[in-house]
Structure formats: C-alpha cells, structure tokens
C-alpha cells in the first residue's frame, strides 16, 4: 500500500494530495529558513492562528453575498487579511510598549484564535451544517480536495518560492546582521515585512492540507533540521526545502495508505522523524558527535591537569582524574604515577613553562593567544622556536625525573 502511495498509484485524489503536499513542504521549508535565521520562528505561530477570524469572516461574507461559503480562494483571501492584522498587532505591541515579542505573539495568537472561535459559532448558528468545510481548516482535511484547490495550492506555493529565491540575498543579510544591512541601504523593515508576507502566503496555502495549527511545524522543523547538516545559509534553505518536500510527499503517501491516518499530523510527524535523526546523527552538529567530542575534551582536560599535578608532586583531588590517568597507564589506582606517567608529566610541565615564556615574549604574541591549557606546543611552534624558548628556561635539568 505504502509503495503504491509513494509511486502515486492510489488514485487521483491521493496523487493530488501527495504532489500538493510536496510543493507546500518545499515552499514552507525554504520560506521558514529565513524566519528561523532571523530568530523569529514563532511569529509564524501568531500568523497562522490569526488566520481563523479571517476564515470565519470570509465565509460569512461569501454566504451573505449568496455564494458558497467554502470557496477556497475566498477563504484564503480572508485568512490573509486577518493574518496581516495579527502581524501588525504583534509589531505594534513590541514597538509601542515594554512587552517583549514572546508576549505579543502569545497574546495575538490566542486572542485572534478566540475571536475566530466566536465567529465559527456564529456561522454554526446562522446555517447549521454548512460550516463543515471550515473545521477542516484547523487541522487540514484532504479528503475532498478538488483539482481546483490543488491548482491554487500549487500556484500559491510556486509564486511564494519564486519570491523567496528573488529576495534570498537581502533576507540573509538582514537575518545575519540587521544593522549592517541598514548601513548598506537595505530597508530592513521592508525586508522583514516581505518575509512575513511570504510566511503568511505559505500559511494560507497550507490551510487546506495541514491546517492552521500545524502549518507552523512545516515552517519551523525543516530549517531547524537542515541547520544540522550545513553551516551555509543558502544550503540551509535548499536542504530545508528538500526536507519539507520529502516530508510532505512521504507524509501524504503514508496517510493515503491506510485509514485514520490524518494527512496534516502524519506530514508533521514525518518531518519530526527527520529532525530527530538529524539531531542525533548529524556529523558535525549532531548530539552524538558533540557528546563524543565533549568526552574526548573532558578526558584531555583531566589528564592534562592530572599530569601537571603529578609533575609537581601535588595531590590529585578528583577521582575522575585518577581513573582517567590509570586507564591511560599513566598512574596507578592510588594516584602514584607510573614510569610513562612521570615522563608525560615532565613533558607537560615543561610545555607549561615554555608557554609561560611565550606569554612573556612580545614576539610571540600571536602564538600566546592560542594558549588554552591543552594545545601541544609543538603544534604551534617550530623546533627552532622551541629551542630558543628553552634557552630562556635553562635546560631540562630542573624537571623532576
């Protein structure tokens, strides 16, 4: 079943949904990247919740004009208008008052959502049964997706993507250093506004498939995941697009392969699975890599400290240090150094003295700043330089055997 779904053989509707979701995932991932780099990921949460009253109002207006309240284009327009109002409200609160952006986001998303809920009950009252299409916008509903809906989603996604590509350079500069961006004549307010507009566009496009509560996930998780794999911003955007696209496509396919697997949540969870894999196993920034690095580092610190203490006949205070020295064969369990330990200790102390000389010689200032207690002096100085430094110390006579 899943294979059939992945190869688009589960029928017309499933194919429409899979392709639409993939495209939505790509544009959400790429757009979300710039929000993430600007450290404003959760503004998306305010924007998406703020769409609800617009949806309700659009429905009421369309019905009162005698049309079909569930027209997707009309609902999208209404949601865009109220999301825009929500965005302006967030901005007004953070600029005009002492409240921080997090409070502004939380206030706007909950109040707008509350107002939206009020409007939904109004709709329920004015024409029972006809609001069925609206509940689907909360969590997405792909069951009755029309070709026309799919075209709107595809068109909206493609336009958003094109605009992001056009603006990517300016958005990157602003995200990295807004003050510098202003100094070179970029209107950062305008760029921020455009970024938010694009986020809003993605949200509106995604309403049908994943719904307004979960669209945030598609804007945030792909860039966060992509960040684990690269240090370059344009690649973050590209990877985020790929991750979003794959999540959308695979998630939609999984959802189509069995009953009671709602599309929106499955897409989000697929995306989350990719995130978890990246969090743990990404080669540089992943947790596993970082943990191994930290263990290695801690080991180096303790061994170095232990050796310096041994060299000076000082007691070693920490059990962990002694354990590590013992495991390297440098000391016995009771803290008495072995032959090899003595030699390494003498070398460590000697290097430490060399560093001290380096610190006091103005010629070596650049080298001096590299000191971190761990670096082997041979890695930063030539043999000749070390020999010269040793003349300042006066030979190895004093090193304890």
């Amino acid at each position: 079943m899943l294979f059939d779904a992945l190869t688009l053989q589960l029928g017309y509707n499933a194919t429409l949904v899979a392709l639409g979701s993939a495209l939505l995932g790509i544009s959400a991932g790429v757009t979300g990247t710039f929000l993430f780099l600007r450290k404003r990921a959760l503004v998306a949460d305010a924007i998406s919740h703020a769409t609800l009253p617009g949806v309700g109002l659009a429905f009421i207006v369309m019905v009162s004009l005698g049309g079909d309240g569930r027209n997707l284009a009309g609902l999208m327009l209404g949601s865009a208008v109220s999301a825009w109002a929500g965005l302006l409200a967030v901005q007004a609160i953070t600029r005009r008052t002492r409240l921080a952006e997090d409070a502004a986001i939380g206030a706007v998303l909950s109040v707008f959502f509350g107002a939206g809920v009020v409007l939904l009950t109004v709709i329920q009252n004015m024409s029972s049964g006809r609001q069925a299409g609206l509940d689907g916008l909360l969590l997405g509903s792909t069951a009755g997706m029309l070709f026309q809906d799919a075209m709107i989603i595809a068109g909206g996604g493609a336009i958003t993507l094109a605009l992001v590509l056009l603006l990517r350079r300016a958005m990157t500069v602003v995200a990295f250093d807004a003050e510098y961006a202003r100094s070179i004549g970029i209107n950062t307010d305008r760029i921020d506004m455009l970024t938010m507009l694009l986020v809003m566009a993605v949200t509106v496009v995604g309403l049908k498939i994943v719904g307004l509560i979960l669209i945030v996930a598609l804007l945030i998780i792909p860039p966060v995941t992509a960040r684990f794999w690269t240090e370059r911003s344009e690649l973050v955007a590209a990877y985020a697009g790929a991750i979003g696209g794959v999540s959308g496509y695979v998630g939609a396919a999984i959802s189509a392969s069995a009953p009671s697997l709602p599309t929106g949540p499955i897409i989000v969870l697929t995306c989350f699975a990719l995130f978890i894999v990246s969090l743990f196993f990404a080669p540089e920034r992943g947790v596993l890599a970082a943990y191994l690095r930290h263990r290695r580092f801690q080991r180096r610190v303790h061994i170095r400290q232990g050796l310096l203490a041994l060299a000076q006949d000082l007691p070693v205070y920490e059990p962990l240090t002694i354990r590590l020295l013992a495991s390297e064969g440098l000391a016995r369990r009771d803290g008495v150094p072995t032959e090899a330990g003595r030699a390494r200790a003498a070398k460590a102390l000697r290097d430490e003295h060399r560093w001290h000389v380096v610190h006091s010689l103005p010629d070596y200032e650049a080298v001096s700043s590299l000191y971190d207690g761990l670096r082997d002096i041979e890695t930063v100085l030539t043999a000749d330089q070390i020999a010269e430094i040793d003349t300042h110390i006066g030979g190895p006579k004093g090193v304890p055997a």
Binding site: L308, D313, E318, H353, Y371, D372, G398
Partner: protein, 269 residues
C-alpha cells in the same frame, strides 16, 4: 628564572591550615564553554580579610572564575571550599554582586525591593518583611548614598546608581566574603568613589572583598592583593610583591605596552 622556581611559582603547595583559613579556596578549577577552556586548572587561595583584585586581559576568564567559584556556572573539574568547608554549607557567608548588564532593568520593582532581596537567606521563603527589615535595607542604601532613591522604579536609575543598588543588596546580606563582578564598569566617578569607600569599610570590619577589576591604574589605591589570570593563573599575592611589571607582562603579554606598565604604580617585584 630557573625551572624549579617556575615550578614552585605554579604549584603553591599550600598547607591544609592555610586552605582552611581561606574564605575562598579554589583547586584545579577548569571551566569551558564548548571546546576551549575559559579557565584552566586554576588554584586560588584568597587571604582572609584581604581586598583582592582579579585582573587579566579581556577573555582571560575573570568573571568565569568568579561565577564558577560560586557555582553559578558548572565547572568541568575542580573544588571550591569556604573556610575549609564545601561551598553549599557556606552560602550564607557569601554575597555576590553580578554584572549590572546581565539584568533586565525593566523589571517591576523599586529600589528597596531589590535591596530586600539581599535579606532572602535571613527571611527565608515566607517570613513577613517587617519594619526592622525595611530599616536595615534603607540603612544599606544610605551606606551607598542612595537613601533618597528607595521608592524609585529601578529602570529610572542611571548605570552608576544601579551598581550602587546592587552593592546595597550585597550589604544587606551581611556576609563575610563579598564577590563583585566588575563593580566599576561603566560607572561615574562619584559612584566609583562611593563603592570603594564602602568596600574599604568592609575590609576595615575584617570582611574579605574579591572584585574583578579592569583599571590597572587604581589597583594599588584600591586593593591589597591581586590575582592575575590569563586562562591559567599567572600569579597571586600581595600587591606589593605580586603586582609587578613581570607578572603583568606574563598575564597581558604584548597587549600591554611597556610604556603603559611604566606609568603604573607597581609593587617592588
């Protein structure tokens, strides 16, 4: 300098009695942000009743040393004792003055509320604040010359005034050991004078003061001991013997021009 002298300079084989007498003794302290140690294997034995300046170049780990000594940040290794006892059992004897810049000064509190925070260990979680507590807080404010500002919103204060309020809060703790993180950073001359007068009065009462300090020109006026650090300890001891051109050169390297050193009022060396 011979090798053995250098070794002795490092090691400071300190007798247990001296460790027990010290209001703050640090052994083998290493703190690291990420992969580069900010403080590496530092031993420090603060003299009881001294006024000690922690000095060293930018990024040398001065504030980090102070915070790790207090357990505010977790070290990678090392032990801290206060009069020979573990830090936790001696909290009540230590007052800490953090950097002013680390605070959101828009917090809804008045000056007196901040000073009353210094009475936390005395008050505990739920005891009521009485008139006596308020008088004590006001008295501490008077001592830093801020008695008239007790009911101001803290956000309305200037930088120097904020620093004095922080000092008043520490005074309210009535501690034996005062740890200050750059108390003179970005304050006006009047505040600097007010702060140093208070610190000297504390010393006169037999308390110990340790401050991260930037201005080498005032060391000899303000302090009697120095602790020089540049990731590792460079030297510690009385200003007269330790605050020398040689130790400064070692701590600051080429970053401190010889001419600058010559301008300083240095110890004998």
């Amino acid at each position: 300098m011979t090798h053995l002298e250098l070794a002795a300079d490092h090691g400071h084989r300190v007798a247990k009695e001296r460790l027990d007498a010290s209001p703050l003794a640090i052994r083998g302290l290493t703190v690291s942000y990420g992969e580069k140690p900010a403080v590496f294997s530092v031993d420090a034995t603060i003299e009881d009743g001294s006024m000690t300046a922690i000095i060293g170049p930018n990024g040398a780990g001065k504030s980090t040393l102070l915070k790790a000594a207090l357990g505010v940040i977790k070290p990678l290794s090392g032990t801290v004792t206060v009069h020979g006892k573990p830090l936790e059992s001696a909290r009540g004897r230590i007052a800490y003055v953090p950097q002013r810049a680390s605070i959101d000064w828009d917090f809804p509190a008045r000056v007196i509320d901040v000073v009353l925070m210094g009475l936390y260990r005395e008050l505990g979680m739920i005891a009521r604040v009485t008139g006596a507590h308020r008088r004590k807080a006001l008295d501490c404010l008077e001592r830093v010359g801020m008695g008239d500002f007790a009911h101001r919103q803290i956000g309305q204060l200037s930088g120097g005034q904020q620093q004095r309020v922080f000092l008043a809060r520490a005074l309210a703790q009535d501690a034996d050991l005062y740890l200050l993180d750059e108390p003179f950073a970005g304050v006006d001359a009047a505040t600097e004078k007010a702060i140093i007068d208070v610190l000297k009065a504390l010393k006169a009462q037999g308390r110990t003061v340790v401050a991260v300090h930037h201005d080498l020109a005032t060391i000899t006026d303000y302090f009697d001991h120095v602790f020089l650090i540049n990731v590792r300890k460079v030297a510690e001891g009385p200003v007269a013997t330790t605050f020398t051109a040689e130790t400064l050169q070692k701590a600051y390297g080429g970053r401190l021009a010889t001419a600058q050193i010559e301008d300083l009022e240095l110890g004998a060396g």
